[in-house]
Amino acid sequence: MKHKSSTVAALTGAAMSLPAFAATQPAESTISVSLSQYHEADIPSDKVVVGSNERYDIEVGKFKLVTPIGADWSLTVDTTRETMSGASPWGTLYGTTGEPNLIMSGATISESRTSLAISSTRYTDKASYTLGVSKSEENDYKATSYQVSGEWDREDKLSTFALAFSYSSDELSPTDAVLYGRVPEANQRSRSISGSWTQVLSKNAVLQSGISLTKKDGYLSDPYKLLDVRPDEKTQWAVSLRYRHFYDNRNAALHLDYRYYDDDWGIDSHTIDLSWHQNLGVRFQLVPRIRIYSQAEASFFEAADDYSLPRDQPQSSDYRLSGYGALSVGLKAIYKLPAWTVSLSVDQYRSDERFGHNESQYEHPALLDFTLTNLGLEYRF
């Protein structure tokens, strides 16, 4: 069958709302698999005082199964396995030029992480309820998390309200703790609540707004840093908007997402995601995308480790708490067959302290650039 005419498309669209075909629950099962290669760029050697100037290389394999069970239920199983190798920053020192330089670890041997998530959803006429558990394990970190969520449609099916709660509990057991004077065992806990409202604006546009609130407590510092003391509590919240618009004359969809994040460590950030989903014929789709990120530095951020401060006073020279921004540009190609979809994407990410909306005094030497390549396969049956 070649492409469907507009008449057939119109009739199909209308038929979809008939009760016999109501897609409140997945009628078919889906298996998705992805393989990804993540590579961080080396740090310029003049920024490294000691240690390797290489950074992380990570391979990620993912598998996901979504399957209907009976008439009202569905099951989702999601598993990830990643292997990583490379060095990471241990600390920051002022160098001879007065700018901060990095103390890096030696390049590590391969480490791996495995995670498994299982969730089940119950569908009724206008609502769905989901319960899920997930576990993640690597040699120095174990995490367990629970999620409960619900979704409710309004009578006209043009609006949907969703609410979710999650709780997670993590155990850290840093390697070589005694050797390097790291905390041997620690725990942290996270609780969050989120809500969203999705509204169909027209036959070609939909908008979702969301909000989330999270509280963390426990050991929140980075145990692998030489000197990293963070508060033992953190409250963070974020609001987001996601807009989708289909342009009939271009046979393409625009995605525009915005998120504002704020926490009580002094960091706030803006994230913008923009992508254009261009259909080329019936089987092929090309998606160029761009992401802009900008964050302010944490209130206790120090450009370099300060050993003169009292040991219980919060400080960290972790670049992830500095003021900086990042630009990510990518392209994804998708090939669709009736039962299969194949996709290939490449994204290039570049950090720069000049993008930060509350810049740190110095550009952090550990700001990273990475390349992420992803191959995805989906099978529907």
Binding site: M1, K4, V8, L11, A20, F21
Partner: protein, 299 residues
């Protein structure tokens, strides 16, 4: 896996359901729920049962709006799309025109009769909201006959599929919906009746998935003098369709295939073929001279 086969009469036609199942008791239960669903839809939309939704709506013609349930609302929404896509030819209010062309008529009715009946035809005159419908003029009628049989075939197939059946065929008077394959791995095979030679098959079609429906003037027709006309009447001119003898269409759902068949039968001359070609769906049409068109004739 055994082939289960039930034959029955529903919606005024011979019907059958074939499906593969390994368990006898379960197969019987499935056959029961299929029949229940078909009878439910038959009772709900039948013109002949006083309590049906159709009669509730028609009895209130010229009076207040009638509240309708989501399933009825969705079927009417679908009929509305058909009306738009067919430039007004597919019209569920055109049923009253059967009074114009009753059996035994010897000649064309006078213009005054046309005026009288066409005045109460027209989907564009109907008032609709998501939960109600109002027929503004007394005597106006809604007829679900153009969609409910095909919808029942799709609904029954969906029921079997949700119960885990992978291979089945539902045939309600020639509106057929299929899923999966036969035991030998071959697709379901459907024979299309020859419009001029009753009992004979003009084409045998292998249906991989989806649905196949046939509209023809050879089964249900209006006889005027010694000529046979299709029972489908043009809601604009009031004249029965007199172009194609039969149309068979393959589409993802029976309700879609059925609507395409009906619209094609109502179109005049070349418009019908142009329309069928524009859908890019496999079809087989037989015109008044017996000439066949469409990709299905090669099978």
């Amino acid at each position: 896996m055994q082939l289960r086969y039930i034959r029955f009469k529903a919606m005024g036609c011979p019907c059958e359901i074939r499906f593969f199942h390994h368990d006898d008791a379960e197969a019987e239960r499935l056959a029961d729920i299929c029949l229940t669903e078909i009878r439910r839809l038959e009772a709900k939309y039948s013109r002949y049962l006083p309590a049906s939704v159709t009669n509730q709506i028609n009895d209130a013609a010229g009076c207040d709006p009638v509240t309708i349930d989501p399933e009825t609302s969705a079927l009417l929404d679908y009929a509305h799309t058909c009306f738009n896509q067919s430039d007004g030819l597919f019209d569920v209010t055109s049923g009253v025109l059967r009074h114009l062309w009753h059996d035994g008529l010897l000649d064309t009715p006078p213009p005054s009769e046309f005026e009288k009946w066409l005045a109460i035809v027209g989907w564009q005159k109907v008032h609709r909201t998501a939960t109600s419908i109002a027929l503004p003029l007394a005597g106006m009628e809604i007829d679900f006959g153009g969609v409910v049989k095909e919808y029942a075939a799709d609904a029954t197939l969906a029921l079997l599929s949700q119960e885990g059946v992978r291979d089945c065929l539902v045939n309600l008077g020639g509106d057929i919906a299929v899923l999966g394959r036969l035991a030998n791995g071959q697709p379901w095979e459907v024979g299309i009746t020859h419009p001029e030679l009753p009992g004979q098959v003009i084409a045998s079609i292998q249906v991989g998935s989806g649905a196949i429906t046939t509209s023809g003037s050879y089964e249900r027709f209006i006889r005027i003098g010694d000529k046979k006309f299709s029972h489908l009447i043009n809601p604009v001119t009031g004249i029965p369709a007199d172009n194609l003898q039969s149309v068979t269409v393959v589409a993802p759902k029976a309700i879609i295939a059925g609507s395409i068949c009906t619209i094609a039968m109502l179109r005049e001359q070349e418009d019908a073929l142009d329309f069928l070609n524009s859908t890019h769906l496999p079809f087989l049409s037989v015109d008044k001279l017996g000439t066949c068109h469409g990709s299905l004739q090669k099978e």
